[in-house]
């Protein structure tokens, strides 16, 4: 860390060098570099303090026990053993994978299907775009509290609708069987606007002659979808899937606000458990070990995502 802060130049030093002709080029180079680092210094400081240093510290903390009174103590793999001994650890991963899996089924298919339909509609396009994106603009806490009220098994909106159409009411968040699905529905509602509009933008870049050519070859609607639309949007679909996996594996706000992890631990997610370790039990070492495992699980997805967007996007 000290090297990065040492790079911050003192701007006043610049004209101090003797302007000898031989050194003009060198001097120019030094000046240019000092200027550049002057522009960079603020960013280097914030990255060093709040990004690079925490990365290193996080790895170290995973193998330490800290109590902020005495110095941190090296404990080897103890933190990981604590995690593996905690029955909630396995439950949290299972719940999180269930959330991610359901979110892929619901939240990956629906936005693409919606975008496909919207792309065919010729009227009121502005309305559809604005309306589907409205929930994205609401703060997630607002959405979570609002939907908690909708999910109320008694006078809640959803059960009222079910009763009106003659279906049996559901317990939604109050039953371990439906709690996770309920959270997936909120999360999908709140975030599908961006995915839908990104797919819509991708669909609009497909050259029309591809469809015409396919049609001349006798391809029906389904075949055009399979052999033109999907291959043409494959890149976007892959990127969005990676992004969604990384985002949904970090789900926190919905379970924290709506269920607190219940009922029967059915909505304890990895991040919720990590939060408990760090800020309820003050066990920052074990929480860091958990962060490291989460990073290892997601690092591959993020790296692939970055690689794809940087090379092709």
């Amino acid at each position: 860390m000290s090297t990065t802060t040492a790079l911050a130049p003192d701007a006043d030093q610049r004209p101090a060098r003797a302007p000898e002709r031989h050194f003009t080029k060198l001097r120019r180079k030094v000046t240019d570099n000092l200027t550049a680092y002057g522009f960079l210094c603020a960013a280097l400081v914030v990255f060093a303090l709040f990004s690079w240093y925490p990365i290193v510290r996080g790895v170290l903390l995973s193998f330490q026990q800290v109590n902020f009174v005495s110095a941190a103590e090296w404990v080897g793999w103890d933190n990981f053993e604590t995690l593996f001994a905690d029955p909630l650890f396995g439950i949290a991963w299972r719940n999180t994978l269930l959330f991610t899996g359901l979110a892929l089924v619901v939240g990956f298919v629906i936005p693409f299907a919606v975008a496909l339909v919207l792309n065919e509609l010729r009227h009121m396009k502005g309305y559809f775009r604005v309306v589907v994106y409205l929930p994205v603009m609401l703060p997630p806490v607002v959405v979570a509290i609002l939907w908690k009220w909708f999910y109320d098994p008694g006078p809640g909106l959803f059960n009222s609708i079910l009763r009106t159409v003659g279906l049996p009411p559901l317990s939604w968040l109050n039953s371990a069987d439906t709690s996770m699905l309920s959270l997936v529905l909120v999360a999908t509602w709140a975030s599908m606007g961006s995915a839908t509009l990104i797919y819509l933008a991708a669909l609009q870049t497909i050259p029309g002659d591809l469809y015409e050519a396919a049609e001349l070859d006798g391809a029906n609607l389904w075949q055009r979808l399979r052999h033109v639309t999907i291959p043409q949007t494959r890149f976007v679909l892959l990127i969005m899937m990676l992004m969604q996996i990384v985002a949904t594996m970090q789900v926190f706000t919905e379970p924290y606000v709506m269920t607190g992890g219940g009922p029967e631990d059915s909505t304890v997610t990895v991040l919720l458990l990590l939060y408990r370790y760090a800020f309820t039990y003050n066990d920052f070492g074990t929480a860091s070990a958990m962060s490291l495992l989460l990073f290892l699980a997601l690092g591959a997805f993020s790296a692939l995502y970055l690689r794809l967007t940087r090379t092709k996007g």
Partner: protein, 298 residues
Amino acid sequence: MAKSRVDRPVRTLLSPWTLEHRRGKVGYWLVFTLVISLFTLAFVVPLIWMLLGAMKTAPELAANPPTLLPDSFNVSAYTEAWSFMELAKYFGNTVLIATGAWLIQLAVDVPAAYALSKLRPVLGKWILGGMLATLMLPASALLVPTYLAITDVPIFGVNLVNSPAAIWLPAAANAFNIYLLKRFFDQIPTELLDAARIDGAGSVTTMVRIVLPLSRPILAVVSIFAIVAAWKDFIWPLLVLQDPGVQTLSVALQRFEPDTPINLMLAGLVLASIPMVVAFLIFQRQILAGLTAGSLKG
């Protein structure tokens, strides 16, 4: 049908032919009606339900089945919620945090991206690589060590908990902004900057007078991302703003939720949503353009 015009000759999945036949037309309008009803039901009705819910009285809200419209359109819950939850204070805190996060991101990331794109210092590639590498980390994997860095900032030795700087400074370390900005600056021809240099403009003048005016679109994208993210953020403010007096709207609403009457809570939710929804309706073109630009095209 105010906007009923066929405005796109572009060929899509369906051929324009199909839509001209009588059967195609009937099918199109059936699908259109279905989609518009579903969209309104899924995305507009919940928000209207929230607006109306805040006008109902507590006993009315407990009634089962619920009333469709409130018995009387009573907006007193809004004023009551405003004072009961001290929303003015939390609005102020949120505005302060969002504005500060936005300004500091521009102030830190724009010069950095400009230096990496145009001044190209020694080690510049490594620095950029080091910044982009942080994008690979899921934000939550850094939650604990970043929190500890806030409680005791290395070298400076200060505790930033409960200070807006606890949100502003980590927000400035935003590699995505730097990536977007640098890519945009890369497209500005170097000849333009060389011309400015020959005319005697220094690097700061060149950036402020030549590069920034050309970069308005990307500055708008970065600004929108910064403000929307600050307004929506929950977990980070929850961790670093522990004193109720300095909390943001999201953190405060979540804290009030267990023991606030539901009609007041709903009014609070509506009020907290208004700024972003209004901003969206005004700047929708820029926001939606930024969405696709930021995610894919850069």
